[in-house]
Symmetry: D2
Amino acid sequence: MADHNIYQDPLVGRYTDRAFQELFSNNYKFTTWRRCWIALAEAQHELGLSQVTKAMVAEMRNALDEPIDYDLAARKEKELRHDVLAHVHEFGTHCPTAKAIIHAGATSMYVCDNTELLQMREALRLLRPQIIDTMENLRAFAHEHRGLVTLGYTHYQAGQPTTIGKRATLYLHDLMIGLRLLDQAEGEIQARGAKGTTGTQASYFELFDGDFEKVKELDSLVSKKLGFETAFPVTGQTYPRMLDHIIVSALGGIAIAAHKFAVDLRLMSNLKLMDEPFAKGQKGSSAMAYKKNPMRSERMTGLCRKLLGLQAEVAQTAANQWLERTLDDSAIRRMYLPQAFLLTNAILKLYQNITNGMVVYPAQIRRHLEMELPFMATEAIIMEAVKQGGDRQEVHGRVKEHSDTAGKRVKLKGLDNDLLGRIAGDKMIPVSQTFLDGILNEPERFAGPAALQTEEFLTKHVAPVLEQYADLIGTADATINV
Amino acid sequence: MADHNIYQDPLVGRYTDRAFQELFSNNYKFTTWRRCWIALAEAQHELGLSQVTKAMVAEMRNALDEPIDYDLAARKEKELRHDVLAHVHEFGTHCPTAKAIIHAGATSMYVCDNTELLQMREALRLLRPQIIDTMENLRAFAHEHRGLVTLGYTHYQAGQPTTIGKRATLYLHDLMIGLRLLDQAEGEIQARGAKGTTGTQASYFELFDGDFEKVKELDSLVSKKLGFETAFPVTGQTYPRMLDHIIVSALGGIAIAAHKFAVDLRLMSNLKLMDEPFAKGQKGSSAMAYKKNPMRSERMTGLCRKLLGLQAEVAQTAANQWLERTLDDSAIRRMYLPQAFLLTNAILKLYQNITNGMVVYPAQIRRHLEMELPFMATEAIIMEAVKQGGDRQEVHGRVKEHSDTAGKRVKLKGLDNDLLGRIAGDKMIPVSQTFLDGILNEPERFAGPAALQTEEFLTKHVAPVLEQYADLIGTADATINV
Amino acid sequence: MADHNIYQDPLVGRYTDRAFQELFSNNYKFTTWRRCWIALAEAQHELGLSQVTKAMVAEMRNALDEPIDYDLAARKEKELRHDVLAHVHEFGTHCPTAKAIIHAGATSMYVCDNTELLQMREALRLLRPQIIDTMENLRAFAHEHRGLVTLGYTHYQAGQPTTIGKRATLYLHDLMIGLRLLDQAEGEIQARGAKGTTGTQASYFELFDGDFEKVKELDSLVSKKLGFETAFPVTGQTYPRMLDHIIVSALGGIAIAAHKFAVDLRLMSNLKLMDEPFAKGQKGSSAMAYKKNPMRSERMTGLCRKLLGLQAEVAQTAANQWLERTLDDSAIRRMYLPQAFLLTNAILKLYQNITNGMVVYPAQIRRHLEMELPFMATEAIIMEAVKQGGDRQEVHGRVKEHSDTAGKRVKLKGLDNDLLGRIAGDKMIPVSQTFLDGILNEPERFAGPAALQTEEFLTKHVAPVLEQYADLIGTADATINV
Amino acid sequence: MADHNIYQDPLVGRYTDRAFQELFSNNYKFTTWRRCWIALAEAQHELGLSQVTKAMVAEMRNALDEPIDYDLAARKEKELRHDVLAHVHEFGTHCPTAKAIIHAGATSMYVCDNTELLQMREALRLLRPQIIDTMENLRAFAHEHRGLVTLGYTHYQAGQPTTIGKRATLYLHDLMIGLRLLDQAEGEIQARGAKGTTGTQASYFELFDGDFEKVKELDSLVSKKLGFETAFPVTGQTYPRMLDHIIVSALGGIAIAAHKFAVDLRLMSNLKLMDEPFAKGQKGSSAMAYKKNPMRSERMTGLCRKLLGLQAEVAQTAANQWLERTLDDSAIRRMYLPQAFLLTNAILKLYQNITNGMVVYPAQIRRHLEMELPFMATEAIIMEAVKQGGDRQEVHGRVKEHSDTAGKRVKLKGLDNDLLGRIAGDKMIPVSQTFLDGILNEPERFAGPAALQTEEFLTKHVAPVLEQYADLIGTADATINV
């Protein structure tokens, strides 16, 4: 239940999936700390450290899921002013035998950093089904509308026609690049492993009596036990914060892709070309029941902006780490890491939700085309007229004149484009009515191979990715609280 | 109680004052919406709108503090998909008579924007005692240490000496500029008033049968009733979002001031010149009990960076508002407004806390001076030697040589600076031991009028401000949870 | 002439006024350094420093405009690796007598900082005529079109009508706030004065034999001679870099105002409501001669984004100054200060240019109104029908049904809005054709007092500012290249 | 020669390599446009387009290096207000036969975008030798100082010792990650190819009579001729601007790595642990000849900050592209693309330059160690004393007491750390002088396997990369203009 007396972060209360909220919860964090301690004890035992016995390890394993006594931890933290030691103590109450060897040789960042690396990797993986589902939605949409000709827009002015499906491939393409960025970012995640307080592994070196091979094995073994393939080869006290930059820049790629889509949709909604899906029972307003404010796209726009805004603070944090470690990253990372993933989750929920039911208005699309297509067809008309025996010079001049008149009529008088009618009525321009009708009736000729491009792209580029992740399709929840 | 199952914003859980958390709570918000509705009804009644009766107004006033039925509001919002109308309904249940006229003629932004403007103004005012207390701390500190000579640092290399007090005036100066920025920002806050859905006041114009004077009076009257002196003269649906930019840039000024201070303190702590205060019982580490990590300054640094990071998203939001209004500002403002103030509150708590008990180490300050002062004194030594009959050319050459040797001794051999000893032992440089002793014993001569500057600044510039706000001193809570 | 072999900054080559390019040139900078040296010598002489004679001061004054020997300065800088001393030497070649006392007691920042402060103040002043002219353009435009009713847009969807003039007041209002921010920023500029290498004025204190009053007078006197009313009361080696933050945030206010305007214009240009002015002979494209890409607004958008992007680096620079000074601000400030002002100049040139000849298309504006107004009028129609004896329940139901049908016709069939025709043809809704005609013929009734608001705002708020700066109107050059 | 009358971008005048300045010059750009036209004509000819003859292609090839007539192009641009057509015309004057088919079927972005993609790829490749050289410098440095024990610093307070070489591996590690980011970014660069004005390839489709296979081949063929392996599968008018985000984020990784290094060096320079190399004849100041301001690191810091500042504007630009294309990216990309690469070039020049001659001060490093090591050794001392028969309780208490006393002596009295002496003099603590001497004489025992880690990292991780790029070592110019 929300506490109405104090500020509540809307990212948690309104926009995100439970799975992401839990991933950055205390329970997830402190349970993962316990996993880190167990991995360390196991590895130390396996590498022959006599003070860590099999029984201790077993006891710790059994205690993993014991409820965390937060009151005890809080009291201990107040006493020691050290949260990690407080939770070492708390875990120790569940493992009386192992108590003394929990966290042996480790520094705080052993649990903190490894836990955050696991959280980030898990978060990246949780985002993938959302991206895949959105891609599948866009794929189906692009396929369905691959041949639906619409005005292209450059400078947000009428340009050479394209198709609704082809336009959607641009969103898909951006999103696929974003997916690749996430993959690359995940590829940069390694364990921080067991490196010691300044990264020298001195305490472990001492535990293993100066046996560097064992120290390296320990680092590798705990990392593997925690689910990492490798550990960073060198660190100071922490893993390199540049990783945060890489991850948040990759999430920024998703934000860019989603922002462009959302703004486009808001523009197209104004033009009545397309709309967001409508929630059951949602109404625009009483008098204009059909009116549909693109509120999800608007929200997406704002959330993307916020996510992009995080990049600067992340990069600055990484750039300003002093020597083996400073702590000016602590408070800010407690915020930016969860925020970055919660925002991406929220954005992708909206993206998935919207693409799941976008409404297209072919008649309005056609109407816009008819307003502009005649102007774009003048070149073809002149060529046809010349073919039919017209004098090029003469025809060109008259077409130009009609074109100007028709253009002014539209803009200055607010009337429809009557260029084709004017040309049809001009005997000096020998083109048939059939030819002129063809311009508006076969607009696809102006869109070139847009439909073919769409199919080609979907088949050659999108399908392989969707096949690769076929098991993820349909697994993400696109429900949103409007 | 924190919910350990889901993410908790540390700004709320750890770093801020209850007053700020409450200011951005649901209760504060929805109660202020009620105040807006009451102000509107009062004004409409006073301006002669017959359908708004005295009894209705009284009923609404009486209902102001009735507990908000959040369940009812939530159910209604689900039905209407409109949070303002849901709360109109909820308030209506407490005012059966007035029910129909609540929010009459108003659009959502009437309550939303006016409420946020009140929150921002209140937040700015809540910050002021924190700044004043910090200024008072710095003033007392600067005064106390106005004559304590220390090396100045340019390029983070030893430079001409200054005093610890003089250095502190720089922090004070920055903070005073920041205070002025907040004052100017507060000066830009006006009511959004009663402007209607696209800012035309059309609905009020209709309510008042086309009487523009009454429409203007209504705008002015509700604004005054809500505690604003004036309303923005023109708006679209919302107040100009550029105001958010102004406010967050001003808060950014505080962040800059605080960040510079915090980084300086971290540097000086390394040099053992100064330390943060120490919490009772706080320990550095077992073996190095005297070691004191500047954790508050480090936290301040990170929080300031986060606050500065908000500027970009705020400016982008303001720059991207389309025509009479777009809603891409809604989700992001739900976050950046509270975050900006909560961060500033957290930063100033730390700033106040630290300046309340900074520890100064005169002996270490002196030690650093002694290492560098001889080099800085060479000019004075040469002048004295010449006065005592030395040959300028000769003296200059020998001093230079000793200086080089002593410099290398320090850097290459890690030894103390023995330049004065070398000079004392050189018969060709006729300066007395008394003169040489004076260099280290009277370092203030190298700091020029730094102490006088400090007093001048405190008296002429700082005191008037502190007097102006004398009643605020001591009213802010500097307790922090380490 | 541009050098085609190497990169040329387009800010200089394409977008800005000569006056701004010159303000940040070497000549302006080094000539101002000379002015600083003259002011210092004058003040020292006036305050009785015997080594600075009247003749020296006169000699220096006479040499002010001597051409700067850049080759000599470059050779000297290579030798000394110190640009200020190199130019002291260069100036000295023009003042053989004064040579030895140039820069006496001063540190580099004496000339560098005071010069930059003068540049910034001058730059702010150069921007003002541009803002005033743009305001005058917008004022005239708003006045002219105060009664031209147009659809309002919220969510970029049709909303309650406003007027073209009223909408323009929003741009004016933003710009006026921006102007006020510049004024406040200029108000924060004070001289860095004569403060010495670590801000202690130690060298001057020595020059004046420990007379602090004279030291203060010197600081004040040089500042006044350079045209400042006051000097910063305390500094380290440099003036507080927070000032840069204040100035660039204020310029950011201009960027926000201009960006919102430019994006709005791009949207309205798509809707064919308004256009940028057209350069003589500029053509959209051959086939679509009437087509006008809003290229200036697009450019404005990008330049504003760039300017807003500077804020982060400026704030970070200010926040990261260490102790009495670090030099990590030097290279970055060589770029961000000129860039910030050059960008603002470029943006305002475009803003002034565009507002100087915006084209409005009343017929298209009307066309859009007609598409949406009937829906907005349903409430009024129902009221009229009831007044004419219709049954409220019955009428409401039928109007709703017609409204839905008409809405679907538009969106799904791409046809015009025929709601009024449907209502006229429905005998159960007793409203006259005259009444229905009135809806489209008197759209102003739906815009409330928008025209009155516009006049009120122009008269009460804009006129006083324009009067205050009446002499600036028409003094800025709005010509743009390309 | 610099023009002293107008602003000169210091990035060009001061900080960068000629190769980068040329890469973003007019000559490079317009010559590459010609290459694009030639590639197009060749491909069209090869694909059987009869109007493009072998002779035309040959003529164009021969004209590639003809001097560009900028005056002619400028006149033509003024006439047509279209830079691409102006240069089509200019190139046409060198190819009278081919004139009519230059740019056939293409839109401006065909030359603009493909050229910029080539520039970015070339720029990325030009950066690589700089990174490799810097890595080689750091490798040699880390190797040389792998065993030089120094205090580690956490919280910028003394922490467990590490080695100078081990610390340098952290910089290397960051830089290697940065290199990988550049590789990944380069991997995302594909040709924009031949896509047409809204990306539909309609004009080419028409040229090839509706043969989609030929259209695709054309796209592929021109891309290959220009040196790309592939073309983006789909585009609007431009290549996806998200690529700019990817590239500038990758450059941001370099900035982060370099910024951390530069700040660390500034801190270590203060501590007299290490220094930048010194230019011949460079002097700190007259009195303190040995003083060395870390001006290059300071400059690096500022330039990195500027580069990181670009990320926001790049991401915003990509996020705000509307539909098939808007032009609000044009002016800003003319600046941010060159700036991003010029800044990175400048940063890496400094990084390479500094790492090429860093000075290390072992004696000062030792001095700092001696101040802190005794505190860190107390645990070991107690263990030894117990081994020698001491009573653990008793020994622990006395050591603690001595430790406190010694700590206070340092901080409060500014004296050296005499803890070991106190312990040696305490008969109740049975440790030998030899043992105590060992603490300071064998500090490596406190640094754990830091030296081994260093070697391991250099051998296993760095060497393979340097081998891969062995031919690049020594090819970048590290000369800087101080």
